[in-house]
């Protein structure tokens, strides 16, 4: 195939993936809607989803009908997300073929790869922690990012060669680490949102509908921590090891308070504060969850805000 054909394939794949993500989103919306209608089981649900405690359901639970509808559409949503992930991956790979390099040279490519990382992190989280309740947030987020990247003219960049500063294998290491960490940060933030919703319901004793079916707050809290504990060292490696080494090669200094560096540092500091908060009396639980969300906002601002609005050495987003 020619480069142009690879480019068309890539765009076709991104467009199709967006459509499938939207279908998955619809399925998850239905999942939440159905879950709202069904009466929650008599027993507390938290036992079923405790931290692998594997407490068998007590015999006195009234056996639910074969399979509730929300369960069915939820699984459809998950399967669609898996399908969308594969198509999305094809898009990223085809993009690499079209540009004859790693597809991480401009904002459009960061968007598409970053969104792929978010879906990937979500699918891993589903496998490890049975967290399908994230599906709604994740598919909505990824669909919006992909659609915006394709449709907003200022965000779309056709495949092409790299600027000289990016001619380095550190591009692969630096961007891969930052993207995977970013995907995990996103999932960590979504889990923290679920935690806050569930925790609020537990405090108010209103465990009906959708919230009643979510995992217990304590479990969500643990998962949020684990996801962040995975992402934070990777982020540290990406922006405080690989980044500076590459900056030294390319720009003659390992750290120069370029706007992107400043915000990578701020992101790092706020996530460090989150991890410290969890070990500090009086800061656990809700406050820590809010911190995780604040940290993700700094990450997003660094990604979107700095690329679009600030001028600096990292402004090869190719946007505008």
């Amino acid at each position: 195939m020619t480069m142009t054909e690879w480019g068309s394939l890539s765009n076709l794949a991104f467009a199709s993936a967006t459509v499938v993500y939207v279908l998955a989103l619809v399925a998850h919306v239905a999942e939440w809607a159905f879950a709202r209608q069904v009466e929650p089981p008599v027993e507390r649900r938290r036992e079923l989803v405790g931290a692998g405690a594997a407490v068998p359901p007590s015999p006195d639970v009234t056996a639910p009908p074969a399979e509730p509808r929300f369960e069915v559409v939820g699984r459809i949503g998950l399967s669609l997300t898996g399908l969308a992930f594969v198509i999305h991956l094809v898009g990223v790979v085809a993009r690499a073929a079209a540009a004859e390099r790693v597809p991480w040279g401009n904002m459009f490519e960061f968007n598409t790869t970053g969104a792929l990382a978010v879906t990937g992190a979500y699918l891993v989280a589903v496998r490890l922690f049975k967290l399908r309740w994230l599906g709604l947030l994740v598919t909505a987020f990824v669909a919006v990012v992909l659609a915006a990247s394709m449709l907003v003219p200022a965000l779309y960049v056709a495949p092409g060669p790299l600027v000289p500063a990016l001619h380095s294998y550190w591009l692969v290491i630096h961007v891969a680490a930052a993207a995977v960490a970013g995907g995990a940060f996103a999932v960590g933030a979504f889990v923290s949102v679920l935690y806050l919703v569930r925790e609020r319901a537990e405090r108010g004793g209103a465990l009906g509908g959708v919230v009643g079916r979510m995992p217990a707050a304590a479990f969500l809290d643990r998962v949020a921590f684990r996801v962040h504990a995975f992402a934070f060292p990777l982020w540290t490696f990406g922006v405080l090891v690989a980044g500076p080494i590459w900056a030294e090669h390319a720009w003659g200094r390992y750290w120069g308070w370029d706007p992107k560096e400043v915000w990578a540092f701020i992101t790092w500091v706020v996530y460090a504060a989150y991890l410290h908060a969890r070990a500090t009396a009086g800061w656990q639980g809700r406050k820590a969850a809010y911190l995780a969300l604040a940290a993700f906002l700094t990450f997003l601002f660094n990604y979107v805000g700095i690329n679009l609005f600030a001028s600096g050495l990292h402004s090869y987003g190719g946007v505008g």
């Binding site: 056709a158 405080l240 003659g252 400043v262 500090t280 001028s311």
Partner: protein
């Protein structure tokens, strides 16, 4: 204690202690981390002197009053300002105050044996108890083997009631990781500080064919660290043989840089064997701890100026500094040797010339597709004779008279090879040829390996502290009861959240020989 007496009787020592305890508390550390994050923000929104001096200059021009306030508050130099320094010094103090006592405590607990079993194991977060027909010693041996296999340190003893107890503990390296991580922050800072004090950074703009030797006078700008000794400059020299740049010619991303490649000849010291080096953006040249980086490029048109007497008063490449992505470049030609008066020019070099009423002459593409020089001239005293150092990029127009033609400022437009006469018989200017030029950065940053080692150490410590989960487990085996069966108890305690204690304990219980399918748990009397 009496409240009032307490308040007034606080001795300086007590006050100091109170302040120290406050400073080193985790709460304060958290607040300081936030302050650090907040303090870093303005530096990303307001142009910084160290990052983009030209933007700072433009900002000051546009907002003189605000600029003055920013200056006073150090907002153009955030990362070297007093207030930013204060936050991180406090954070470092808090960190030191945190790690010293913790290291002491860790040292003690590291050497301690696993603590004995609490009297009532059933009170622990996870607890299992069952009876077995096996012998006490066999059960204890099974438990010990299983615990050791799971990397527990195990202490076996008999308690007051004669029961065999296994006290086990694992994960004591978590705290070590924690301490290493916090210590590494200091290592990184030490490395950075060392580089800032004992290093230097300089810049030189070099046209093709021009040479550079590593002495102070050859630099356009030179920023030594406070403790850098100028005599330590490595005596290398280099010549820019050639520079090639390619740009995107297609419609998509037109004008984007595609490759910058410089060829240098260099000597590591006077008299050394000349060597060649292909210098590119990600391929610096290293000479004895000093690095030469290709950080920018532009043009240096070859200009020849004849004075009013018809003599060649100036001839050579003139550096023009790029101002935008199309390499619209600004430069100055000074001709102090011109007779009868000195002549100076300032203006633009445009690699791809275009002119519009709105923008005037400008460049539309970074490569030299249609090069042109647009200059205005001045005569008078250039101010170069009183010995004061002058920038080669600035024309001091005090005492200069602008050349005019028909009452309008005189403007020269030259294409390569063209010569034009100046008005009033002041002489002529020739655009003799075009050289490319490179912006080199020469720098020496000692301590960067220390900083890197610090970050890697910190990463290792961080991973250790995030992934190791300290856990204590106890197994207690009582002698055979009246029914001839042995009662076994196992219990565990996680010292940090996030672990899966229950299934860990179940695995242990299974290894001790409890049948997988047992009758429902029943609490034996203890």
């Amino acid at each position: 204690m009496d409240k009032q007496a307490g308040a007034s009787a606080l001795s300086p020592l007590e006050l100091g202690r109170w302040a120290w305890r406050r400073l080193t508390s985790m709460r304060t550390a958290l607040i300081l981390l936030f302050l650090l994050a907040m303090a870093a923000i303005p530096g990303s929104l307001i142009p910084q002197q160290a990052v983009s001096p030209s933007e700072v200059f433009a900002f000051r021009e546009a907002n003189p009053t605000l600029g003055e306030w920013y200056d006073r508050l150090g907002l153009f130099t955030v990362y070297t300002s007093v207030w930013f320094g204060a936050v991180y010094v406090l954070l470092m103090l808090s960190l030191v105050g945190c790690i010293i006592p913790r290291t002491r405590q860790y040292w003690r607990s590291f050497r301690a044996q696993p603590p004995p079993a609490p009297r009532n194991l059933a009170r622990l977060p996870e607890h299992r108890t069952w009876s077995s027909a096996a012998a006490v010693d066999d059960l204890a041996a099974d438990a010990e083997r299983a615990l050791r296999r799971s990397r527990f340190r195990v202490r076996r003893y008999a308690d007051d009631s004669g029961r065999v107890v296994l006290a086990a503990e694992r994960g004591r390296y978590r705290e070590a990781g924690n301490l290493v991580f916090h210590l590494s922050v200091l290592v990184v800072l030490a490395g950075v500080a060392y580089g800032a004090l004992f290093g230097f950074k300089g810049g030189a703009y070099l046209a093709e064919g021009q040479g550079f030797s590593n002495t102070l006078t050859q630099y356009d700008e030179f920023k030594p660290g406070a403790l850098y000794d100028i005599d330590d400059l490595v005596p290398f020299s280099l010549t820019l043989e050639q520079f090639e740049a390619t740009y995107e010619m297609g419609d998509e991303q037109r004008g984007a840089a595609r490759s910058f490649d410089a060829t240098l000849n260099y000597l590591t010291e006077p008299g050394a064997e000349p060597r060649s080096k292909a210098l590119a953006v990600n391929q610096p040249l290293e000479i004895g701890g000093t690095s030469v980086f290709l950080v920018g490029n532009g043009y240096a048109p070859e200009v020849t100026v004849r004075d009013g007497n018809g003599d060649v008063a100036f001839s050579g490449p003139v550096p023009f500094l790029p101002q935008d992505s199309s390499n619209t470049s600004f430069g100055v030609v000074k001709v102090p040797d011109a007779q009868p008066t000195q002549i100076g020019f300032e203006g633009f070099f445009l690699p791809t010339f275009a002119i519009t009423p709105e923008r005037g002459p400008h460049s539309t593409f970074p490569d030299a597709l249609r090069p042109a020089l647009v200059l205005t001239g001045f005569t008078g005293d250039l101010g170069m004779d009183d010995g004061r150092p002058q920038s080669v990029y600035v024309l001091d127009k005090d005492g200069l008279t602008q050349l005019e033609e028909d009452g309008e400022p005189f403007r020269l437009l030259l294409e390569p090879g063209q010569t034009k006469q100046l008005p009033g018989g002041a002489g002529s200017v020739t655009f003799a040829g075009l050289n490319r030029a490179v912006q080199l950065q020469v720098s020496h940053t000692p301590g960067k390996t220390v900083a890197l080692a610090g970050v890697l150490l910190g990463l290792a410590g961080m991973v250790t502290s995030l992934y190791i989960r300290p856990r204590r487990t106890w197994v207690r085996v009582a002698g055979a009861g009246p029914d001839g069966r042995t009662v076994v108890e196992a219990a565990g305690l996680d010292r940090v959240s996030g672990g899966d204690l229950a299934s860990g304990l179940d695995d242990l219980v299974a290894a001790i020989g409890r049948p997988a399918k047992d009758q429902p748990e029943q609490e034996e009397s203890s």
